[in-house]
Symmetry: C2
Subunit: 332 residues, 2 copies
C-alpha cells in the first residue's frame, strides 16, 4: 500500500502555536472517488490566519477539528484524475491542507500556469496574500498619485505586495518593519521610499520625519501603538485598511485606540476586511499582480522551509517575525 504524510491538529493552543499542537502522521494514499482529482502538493503556504483556525473560537471561519488535517493553501500537480476538467500534469492550487497528497473534487482546485510564474508564486504575490494586498490597497486605501501611504509589516508577503502596488500607483510609500535587516530589504529590494524600524527607540520621531506631508492611507497588519502613532499623522480624508492586528494576539492589555475624535476631525475611514469576501476581485488582482511580477516590476522574497515536518516551526516562526517575505514549505 502506498503511503503519504500529513500533519493534524493534536491539541489547541491558548496562546501561540507550539510544536506540541501538531502531529505528523503517515497514512495510506487516498483513493479517488468519482469526479475526484489526486493532487501531489509540492508547496504549502504558511499564513497568519492559521493560528485563528487552530483555536476553538468563533472567527470568520470554522476552526480545524482535533485530529483533522491542518488547514492551508497548497500548490501542486495532478497525478491522477477522474474529473475531465483536470489532466495528469496540470498545476493546481487549492486549500488542501498540510499534507503531501489529497483527493478532492475538481471544484476545489484552480489551474495555474507554471510556465508564466514559478508554481509557489501562486501561493504568494499571485495568490491569496497578493489578492489580500490588492483588495486592501487598491479598493480600500484608494491610493492616488502623490499621496503618502504607510504599510506595516512591510516585509511580509502581504505588506510587501501592498506597498509595491502603491508605488506603482505613484505614491510615496513608507514601510514599517521590525529590525534593520527587514527595513533594508524593504527599501533596497522592494523599492519603498523609506522604512521605519518599529523596534528603534526613536520610532515616533522617525515616522514623523518619514511623512513630511502627512499620511493619506494606511495598510495595517499590526494595530496597537504603531497604528496609534500613525493616526497622529493622518491627513484629512485618510483611509485605513485593517488587514491584521498582530499586536493584539497574546496581549491581555492591548494598546487599542485611546480617542475617536481624531477620526471625526480628520474624517478618517477605517475598514476591517477579509480577502475571502472579495472573490469577485480575484481575477483582476491575479491578472495585474502576475503581470507586474512577470515584467519584473514587482519583487517578492520567499522564506522556504524544507519538508512537511518543518511546517510547524515555520508557522511558529511567523509569529516571532523570523520570516522575510512569503513563508513557504517545500514539500518535495
Amino acid at each position: 500500500m502506498e503511503l503519504t504524510t500529513r500533519i493534524v491538529l493534536a491539541s489547541r493552543p491558548t496562546g501561540r502555536p507550539a510544536a506540541e499542537h501538531f502531529r505528523l502522521e503517515t497514512v495510506p494514499l487516498p483513493t479517488l472517488g468519482e469526479h475526484q482529482v489526486l493532487v501531489r502538493n509540492d508547496w504549502l503556504s504558511i499564513d497568519p490566519y492559521m493560528r485563528g483556525r487552530m483555536m476553538d473560537i468563533r472567527t470568520y471561519a470554522e476552526p480545524v477539528g482535533l485530529g483533522e488535517v491542518m488547514v492551508g493553501d497548497t500548490a501542486g500537480e495532478v497525478i491522477a484524475s477522474r474529473d475531465p476538467a483536470f489532466a495528469v500534469g496540470d498545476h493546481v492550487v487549492g486549500i488542501l491542507g498540510w499534507q503531501r497528497h489529497a483527493a478532492v473534487d475538481g471544484a476545489r482546485l484552480r489551474r495555474v500556469d507554471a510556465a508564466r510564474l514559478p508554481l509557489q508564486a501562486y501561493l504568494g504575490v499571485a495568490g491569496m496574500p497578493g489578492v489580500t494586498a490588492y483588495v486592501g490597497m487598491i479598493d480600500l486605501c484608494e491610493p492616488k498619485p502623490g499621496e503618502t501611504v504607510v504599510v506595516t509589516a512591510a516585509s511580509g508577503a502581504v505588506g510587501s505586495t501592498a506597498g509595491q502596488l502603491a508605488r506603482l500607483r505613484g505614491c510615496r510609500v513608507v514601510g514599517v518593519a521590525g529590525g534593520a535587516e527587514k527595513c533594508r530589504h524593504v527599501v533596497d529590494d522592494l523599492g519603498f521610499d523609506a522604512c521605519i524600524d518599529y523596534k528603534a527607540d526613536d520610532f515616533k520621531a522617525c515616522i514623523a520625519q518619514a511623512v513630511p506631508d502627512g499620511i493619506d492611507a494606511i495598510f495595517d497588519n499590526v494595530g496597537g501603538e504603531i497604528l496609534a502613532t500613525l493616526l497622529g499623522r493622518v491627513n484629512h480624508f485618510a483611509r485605513i485598511a485593517l488587514c491584521g492586528a498582530i499586536s493584539e494576539l497574546d496581549n491581555p492589555q492591548p494598546h487599542g485606540l485611546k480617542r475617536l475624535l481624531p477620526f471625526i476631525v480628520n474624517r478618517v475611514r477605517l475598514q476591517g476586511f477579509i480577502v475571502s469576501d472579495h472573490a469577485a476581485r480575484w481575477p483582476a488582482a491575479i491578472d495585474e499582480l502576475s503581470g507586474h511580477v512577470a515584467a519584473g516590476r514587482m519583487r517578492s522574497r520567499e522564506s522556504i522551509a524544507d519538508g512537511l515536518a518543518a511546517a510547524p516551526a515555520a508557522l511558529i516562526g511567523l509569529f516571532e517575525g523570523r520570516n522575510l517575505g512569503k513563508q513557504l514549505v517545500r514539500l518535495g
Copy 2:
C-alpha cells in the same frame, strides 16, 4: 443711532464653556455695504460644534477670535437689501453668529420657505443637524430594510432625525439616551422601536436584549464605553458613522477602543464625518427631510431659550444634556 446686541467670545475655555467666556455687547446697527443684505436674526441655533470653535485648537475650522462675535447658525428676515437677489421680507438662514442683526453679502444667505415649515425648522430637522443626520445615516450607515440600527444621543437634534430616517427605511431602530424621560420621548414621540438609558446600571444587558439580531449600523455621537458596548454586538459588515465623541470631551482618560481585531473579524467600517464636506447632498437631504416633516412622517422637539442673553446658558446646558431635541434661542 440705532443699536443692536451681540455676544462675543470674551475668553477661551479649557474645559466646558461657562458664562465668563461670553460678553454681551450693545453696538450700533451695521450699515449696509454695496451688494449687502441686512438681516434681523429671529432664531439662533445652539450646536455642539460651537465648543470646539471657542478653543484655540486646530480642528476642521478656524477658531473664533477673542472679542469676535460667536459663530452660530441663524434664521431671520431681510430688513434692508442692496443685493437684487434678496428683498425685504425674505426669510433667510446663514451662519451669521450670535447677534440680532448682521450685514452680509447675499452669497452667505439661503432663502427658505417659512410658509412650508416654521422658520426655526431650517436650523434643525431641515437644516444643518438634519443634513448631518441624513449624510451619516443614509450615505454612511446605508440602512437596509429589516436591519437593526442603533443611534446614540437619540433625543438630540441630530440623533432624533437619524433614527427616524432609518425607521422610514424599514429598519428596527434602537436609541441610546440619558435618563428615563428622554428614552420615553424617543420611543413614544419619535417612534423608535426601543431606547436604552445609558445611565441605568443594567445598560449592557438592556442593549443585548434590545438587539436580538445584532447591530448592522451605528450612528454614534458619544464614543467611549457606549460605543465599545455596541461594538460587541455588531454583525458582519456593520457600518459605523462617527458624528461626535462627546464622551471624550473633558476626559483625560477616555475609554477608547481596546481592540481592533473585532473590526477585522466582523469586517466593520468606521467613518468619521463632518457635514460641511457634503455640500452636494444638501438639496436632496433638505428636500426629503422637509417633505417628511410637512407630511407629518417625522417629528422634532425643540428646547427654546428666550433672548440673546440666554444663549450662553443654552450652550452650557447642551453639554449637561439638559436639552431635549433641538436647542434654539428665540432672539425676538
